[in-house]
């Protein structure tokens, strides 16, 4: 029974990994659209992706938007997280709900909300409009990541620094920040990825010159369905792999190193 369950689990794992086995070969295929296994092999769609402004511009747009979103999100969320984790105050429960709300509201609801709202304030199809919307949607994840980190932070370090005469600002810079920076980095990363992948809201509020990569991919899947999408997908896989595997390897290696020490 146990074995059967584990075998079944392995099968499901294969199911989870399937897209990888499709998308990567597909990106080297000579197929015109959806055809698998590939009728022939080349790297032509890679050059097509890198040389076509219709793909590179949305890519750069998305990178820029996501970078701005991650900075803005961390700037806004950091002080709020400190307040929520370290202080008690009236209305805290409400604030908590407010912070998590963007995660609970379906994106299609926000998409039409932003569409009407940004048109009203003349920010529809502009970078600031998309950045503002994406930042709001990134707040909950960044907050969850940061507060988890902050809860694990040993405050006696700060108190020690203060008792030695360090000002609050200096304490923050020299004690709190160095210990918490992985938390900040993780929060920024979550916000970045959230924005970079966000599709539904971007479909409604981005425009000709502010087109994001997911929107371009959506249009492309719907019209030509050509393997350039597979190229983009493979590159995204690589980026995700780097994000997921590198920390695991790093942790394993550093553990080995510390274990091998006498």
């Amino acid at each position: 029974m146990r074995l059967a369950l584990i075998l079944l689990g392995a099968l499901v794992l294969a199911f989870v990994a399937t897209p990888l086995f499709i998308v990567v070969p597909m990106s080297f295929s000579t197929a015109v659209s959806l055809e698998f296994p590939p009728p022939g092999w080349w790297t032509g769609y890679y050059s097509a992706y890198f040389s076509d402004a219709r793909w590179t511009r949305p890519t750069l747009n998305s990178l820029g938007i996501a970078a701005a979103v991650s900075i803005l999100t961390v700037l806004l969320v950091t002080p709020a997280t400190f307040a929520l984790v370290r202080h008690r105050f009236a209305g805290k429960g409400l604030v908590n709900v407010m912070l998590m709300l963007p995660l609970a509201v379906p994106h299609i609801v926000m998409a039409i909300g932003y569409y009407a709202f940004l048109a009203d304030i003349r920010l529809l199809q502009t970078f600031p409009g998309i950045i503002l919307a994406h930042t709001a949607l990134s707040v909950p994840m960044a907050f969850l990541v940061l507060s988890a980190n902050l809860k694990g932070f040993d405050r006696s370090l700060e108190r020690a620094a203060m008792s030695l005469g360090a000002s609050p600002a200096a304490t923050f810079r020299h004690v709190t920040l160095p210990v918490l920076w992985p938390g900040f980095a993780a929060a920024a990363l979550f916000a970045f990825v959230q924005s970079f992948d966000e599709t539904v809201v971007a479909l409604f509020i981005s425009g000709r010159d502010t087109e994001t990569l997911p929107r371009k991919m959506f249009d492309s899947i719907r019209t030509t369905a050509d393997p350039v999408i597979a190229v983009v997908s493979t590159l995204l896989f690589l980026a995700v792999a780097a994000l997921v595997i590198v920390p695991v390897l790093w942790r394993t290696l550093s553990r080995r190193r510390s274990e091998s020490r006498p």
Binding site: V32, F117, A119, L123, Q125, D209, T223, T224, A225
Partner: protein, 350 residues
């Protein structure tokens, strides 16, 4: 004025608007003075337009033209309402140009030469510049029907005799007349359309329709990948696939001829240049080149002076097809095109 629909909600957003509004001038993209954005259908259509319409226009005027796709009637309506323009000029079929005028989405041509001294009769229609004719034809997979596929719309509807999946365009004013033809109405007596009968006829084909296509390249992809066996699509896209060696057959019998028009999005800051483009785009030699490469038929009669007999024979306007095809009569539609479109969209989803 343009964003009438939104001002009602303005009070609500006043607070937030002020904050963002103050920042706006610093962010706003500086629009290059001499760029025109023109909506295209992509693929073969776009290549023909760039070579024969856009590049000559830029050579003459110095105005750069950037193609924007996909074509979307909805986008035209959205941008007029929201004031955020993705394109200055777009191309519309007959049904859409009626809807666009109803909703006041296109610039009036009254003060232009297209109306005041038209280069040919019918150069301007409903505030659009008459460009070319195209056909919606039946195409099918040869491998699926080795003994020949459906030869008319009634047979296209006959999923007993011609089993297999169907595909049609998500475009009410183009599909409703076809539905009547399939139901046995003679093609010369379609108009004004009996809409209820048309929808009853559509009910019969609905279970077989796997996809309602919206983009020209999408219709080609579905046919090329064999997702569908039998499709109603544009003749030019079918001919292109056949030229590429795809095992696809085209049926000219009962092809529906429709006209396409260039229009200027109302309220665009590039209105004057856009109007210049309209006038240039229907000049005989240019529209001839465009039609030659995009396999369409020019509406400007003088264009045929620039087209060889062999080329003309492939156009939907060719005499060889005259007795087989029928033409749309949009002014005699038989109801409100917009309401019919709404009904059609809802019908698809149920």
């Amino acid at each position: 004025m343009a964003q009438k629909g939104f001002t009602r909600r303005a009070t609500l957003t006043l607070g937030a608007g002020t904050v963002a509004g103050l920042a706006t001038p610093y962010f706003r993209r500086v629009r290059a003075a001499e760029v025109l954005h023109v909506n295209t259908w992509g693929g073969i259509w776009e290549r023909a337009a760039i070579k024969n319409l856009f590049e000559p226009f830029t050579r003459d005027t110095g105005i750069e033209i950037r193609p924007v796709s996909p074509v979307s009637f909805a986008k035209l309506a959205q941008q007029v309402r929201s004031g955020a323009y993705e394109f200055d000029v777009t191309t519309l079929g007959a049904g859409e140009i009626i809807r666009a005028n109803q909703a006041n989405l296109v610039e009036k041509l009254d003060n232009t030469d297209l109306v005041k001294s038209p280069p040919f009769a019918g150069a301007a229609f409903q505030n659009g510049a008459s460009s070319h004719a195209f056909a919606t034809v039946i195409a099918y997979q040869k491998s699926k029907y080795p003994n020949g596929g459906p030869q008319n719309w009634a047979e296209f509807w006959d999923t007993q005799k011609f089993a297999g999946s169907r595909c049609m365009q998500r475009y009410a004013s183009r599909i409703l007349p076809i539905a009547l033809a399939a139901d046995g109405v003679p093609t010369e007596k379609l108009y004004p359309l009996d809409l209820n009968r048309a929808f009853r006829s559509l009910d019969k084909i609905k279970p077989a329709v796997r996809v309602w296509w919206t983009q020209g390249q999408q219709s080609q992809q579905l046919l090329r990948d064999g997702e569908i066996d039998c499709i109603a699509l544009w003749h030019a896209r079918t001919l292109e696939l056949i030229d590429q060696g795809q095992p696809v057959e085209i049926v000219w019998n009962q092809a529906q001829i429709e006209r396409a028009y260039w229009v200027v999005a109302r309220g665009t800051p590039n209105r004057d240049n856009a109007l210049r483009f309209l006038e240039a785009a229907i000049r005989p030699e240019r529209v001839a080149g465009f039609c030659r490469d995009s396999l369409n038929g020019p509406l400007n009669p003088a264009a045929f002076n620039h087209v060889s007999a062999a080329e003309a024979a492939r156009m939907p306007t060719a005499p060889a097809y005259k007795d087989k095809v029928f033409e749309q009569d949009i002014l005699n539609f038989g109801g409100d095109v917009n309401a019919a479109t709404q009904r059609f969209e809802r019908w698809i989803g149920t």
